[in-house]
C-alpha cells in the first residue's frame, strides 16, 4: 500500500505537469490563443462583440479598436490627407472618418495600446508603424539581445553618439 506522503507527492507532481503543459500550450499559441487573428474576423460590427469596444474594419475584415476605419490609402488617393493612415505621429489625426457607424473613441494610439496583449504583439491591425512591425505573426523570428551582446549601450540602454 502506498504511504500517504508518497500519494501527496505524486499528486503534486501531476498538478505540476498539468500546469506546465497548460503553460506551454499557452505560450505556443501566443496571441492567437487570446484573439482571433484569422484572415477574416468579421463582416459587420456585431461580429466583433467578443472584443470590447471593437468594430469591424470594412476593408480588412478584422476587428479593430473602436476607432473608426478610414478609407484605405491607395495609389489612386495617395497624397490625399484625408485618407492618410495617421502615421505622422499625431495620434488624433485621421480618426474622424467613421465606418460601420462607429464614432471615434479616443485616439488611435490609445486604442492600440488597449488592444496590445501580454505577449507583446498587436493583433488588431492598427496603422502606426510599431504596431505593424510587432504585429502578430506565425513566421520564424530570431531575437537579437542588445543588452547581452552590445557593451557600448548607454546607461539607460540607449545609443551613444557616433564618434
Amino acid at each position: 500500500m502506498t504511504p500517504p506522503a508518497a500519494r501527496v507527492r505524486a499528486g503534486a507532481r501531476l498538478v505540476l505537469v498539468l500546469v506546465l503543459a497548460l503553460g506551454a500550450i499557452g505560450n505556443l499559441s501566443g496571441c492567437s490563443l487570446s484573439l482571433d487573428t484569422n484572415g477574416a474576423q468579421c463582416a459587420r460590427n456585431q461580429d466583433c462583440a467578443r472584443f470590447q469596444g471593437a468594430v469591424c474594419d470594412a476593408v480588412t475584415h478584422l476587428c479593430v479598436p473602436g476607432v473608426a476605419s478610414k478609407p484605405t490609402p491607395t495609389l489612386a488617393n495617395a497624397g490625399d490627407p484625408t485618407v492618410d493612415a495617421g502615421t505622422d505621429g499625431d495620434p488624433a489625426r485621421g480618426s474622424d472618418v467613421a465606418a460601420g457607424g462607429a464614432g471615434p473613441e479616443g485616439t488611435a494610439s490609445e486604442s492600440s495600446r488597449g488592444c496590445r496583449v501580454a505577449a507583446g504583439c498587436a493583433p488588431c491591425a492598427p496603422p502606426p508603424s510599431l504596431e505593424l512591425l510587432n504585429g502578430c505573426s506565425d513566421v520564424i523570428c530570431v531575437a537579437f539581445d542588445n543588452h547581452v551582446r552590445l557593451s557600448n549601450l548607454g546607461p539607460d540602454g540607449g545609443l551613444t553618439p557616433l564618434p
Partner: protein, 450 residues
C-alpha cells in the same frame, strides 16, 4: 509578333567583334603561338562572357527609338525583360542602360548629367534585342552641353560623340536620400514608384550569426573596431558599399549612420562585396550589406540575417524563413528595410514623360500600363526577389518612413505567393462569383479582398 532587325551599327559591331578574333599574323603567316592565343580568346569570349556580347565599336545612339536609363543595378533584371518585349514591338523600342548606382540615376535626371561609357573602360552601356540577348555599346560625351533628351527616334549618327541625357533615372532610394531637396523635386520631374526592393545584412555561410539588430548595426558600422558588438569588430571584414549606393543609403537611413561615416571596408559594387564576403578566410567576423536580388541569388555562399529594427523585440527575415521567397515580412511590415524602386523622369509640357517611349517603360515597370502579352511582370518580379505594389499590405511615402496599412486595388498577393513559393492557400477563381464574402474580388486568378 515580328522580330526587328538589328540596326546597321549593331550589325557592324558584331562584325567588328569577329574581327577582334582575327589571329595576329606576322608576314601573313599565323604562328603556333598566335593560334594558341586565338584559341584562348575564343574560349574566354565564348565561355567567360556567356550571353553578353561585347560590341566594342557599337554606338549607343544608333539604337532604334532609344530610351536611356541610368542608375541602380538592382532593377536591371526587370528592365532587361521589359527591354526584350519592347525590342519585339512594332516599332521597336530599345532600352539603353547604364548601371551607375542609384544616386547617379537621380543625378542624371535632376542635373542632366550626360551618360557616357565604353567597352574599353568596362563602363559600356547595355541594350537588349528581341531575344533578350544583352549587347554592349559605347557612348562618349561631346564637349557641347546637353540640349535634348537622347537621340531622335529612328535616326543614326556617324560618331558616338553626342551628348545624351538619361530619360529615366532608376534608383532604390528617394531623391532626398541622395540630395538635399528642401523644396522637393522640381515641378518638371516626376518620381514613379515601382516594385519594392529590400536591403539585407549578410554573412558568409560559415558564420554562426543568424540575426542583427538596428542597434548592433549602428555600433558595428558607426564605431568599427570599438563597436563592442562582438564578433563584428575587425574593420577589414565589415564590408559596405559607397555613398552613391542605394543599398548603403537605405540601410544608413535605417540604422542612423550617415553614409559618409561608415566604418569598415568600402566596396565598389555588389559583385565586389559578394566576392569579398565569400572569399577564403571569412567567417564569424564578416558582415556585409546587399540587396535581396543579389543576396538571394547567392544563398549557397551566404546567409541573410534576420533584422530587428528599433522598437522590435525580435528579428525577421524578409521572407517567412531563411529559405522561402514570398517576402511576407516585407509585405506586412515586419521587415523594416525596404523601399520602392524609383523611376525619375522629366515631364513634357503636357505633364507626360518628355520621351513617350520612356512613359511606356515606366508604365510597364510600375504596373500602371497593361503589359504586352507574354510579359508576366508579377512572376518576373518574384523571380527577381522584388515585390510588386499590388502584393504589398503596407506602404510608406518617405525613406524608411512610417508604415501605413495598404490594400491595393487589383491585389496580386495570392498570385505572388504562388509564383514566388509555388503554392498559395488562397482560393482559385475564374470570376468574382467564385469568391467568398471575405475576399470577394477575383484578381490574378485568386480571391482577394479587392
Amino acid at each position: 509578333m515580328s522580330r526587328p532587325q538589328p540596326s546597321s551599327r549593331h550589325t557592324q559591331a558584331r562584325a567588328a567583334e569577329g574581327a577582334i578574333l582575327t589571329p595576329p599574323c606576322r608576314a601573313g603567316v599565323p604562328t603556333r603561338a598566335a593560334e594558341d592565343l586565338v584559341l584562348v580568346l575564343v574560349l574566354v569570349l565564348g565561355l567567360g562572357l556567356g550571353a553578353v556580347r561585347s560590341a566594342s565599336a557599337a554606338d549607343c545612339t544608333t539604337a532604334r527609338n532609344p530610351v536611356y536609363v541610368a542608375g541602380s543595378t538592382a532593377a536591371k533584371p526587370i528592365l532587361a525583360q521589359v527591354a526584350k518585349f519592347l525590342a519585339a514591338q512594332n516599332p521597336p523600342v530599345t532600352i539603353v542602360y547604364s548601371g551607375q548606382g542609384s544616386c547617379a540615376g537621380v543625378d542624371a535626371i535632376l542635373n542632366g548629367t550626360p551618360l557616357r561609357g565604353a567597352v574599353a573602360t568596362a563602363t559600356a552601356l547595355s541594350t537588349w534585342d528581341a531575344t533578350g540577348a544583352e549587347l554592349k555599346c559605347d557612348l562618349a560625351a561631346a564637349p557641347a552641353p546637353a540640349t535634348t533628351s537622347g537621340a531622335t527616334p529612328g535616326t543614326t549618327s556617324a560618331l558616338p560623340t553626342r551628348t545624351v541625357v538619361a530619360d529615366i533615372g532608376l534608383s532604390d532610394v528617394f531623391a532626398s536620400t541622395c540630395f538635399s531637396l528642401p523644396g522637393g523635386l522640381p515641378s518638371n520631374v516626376q518620381d514613379f514608384l515601382g516594385p519594392v526592393q529590400t536591403m539585407t545584412f549578410v554573412v558568409p555561410k560559415s558564420s554562426p550569426e543568424r540575426s542583427i539588430s538596428a542597434e548592433a548595426a549602428y555600433y558595428v558600422f558607426g564605431f568599427g573596431a570599438t563597436s563592442g558588438a562582438s564578433p563584428w569588430t575587425d574593420e577589414a571584414w565589415l564590408l559596405h558599399r559607397d555613398a552613391q549606393s542605394g543599398t548603403e543609403r537605405m540601410i544608413a537611413t535605417a540604422i542612423g549612420v550617415p553614409p559618409g561615416r561608415w566604418k569598415g571596408t568600402g566596396t565598389t559594387s555588389s559583385t565586389d562585396l559578394l566576392g569579398r564576403l565569400t572569399a577564403p578566410g571569412t567567417g564569424a567576423q564578416t558582415l556585409g550589406i546587399l540587396a535581396t536580388d543579389v543576396a538571394q541569388s547567392n544563398l549557397g555562399m551566404l546567409n541573410i540575417l534576420a533584422y530587428q529594427h528599433f522598437g522590435q523585440t525580435c528579428g525577421y527575415y524578409p521572407d517567412r524563413d531563411a529559405t522561402t521567397n514570398e517576402k511576407i515580412n516585407v509585405r506586412d511590415g515586419h521587415y523594416a528595410i525596404w523601399g520602392p524602386v524609383h523611376l525619375f523622369t522629366r515631364l513634357g509640357g503636357a505633364g507626360y514623360p518628355a520621351n513617350a517611349y520612356a512613359g511606356d517603360v515606366i508604365g510597364y515597370v510600375t504596373g500602371t500600363k497593361v503589359a504586352p502579352a507574354g510579359l508576366d511582370l508579377v512572376a518576373l518580379e518574384a523571380q527577381s526577389h522584388v515585390v510588386p505594389p499590388c502584393a504589398m499590405r503596407v506602404r510608406r511615402t518617405e525613406e524608411l518612413g512610417p508604415l501605413a496599412s495598404f490594400a491595393p486595388p487589383g491585389a496580386c498577393g495570392c498570385y505572388y505567393d504562388k509564383v514566388a513559393n509555388g503554392s498559395t492557400s488562397c482560393q482559385v477563381c475564374a470570376s468574382a462569383h467564385d469568391c467568398p464574402a471575405a475576399s470577394p474580388a477575383c484578381s490574378y486568378g485568386y480571391c482577394e479582398t479587392q
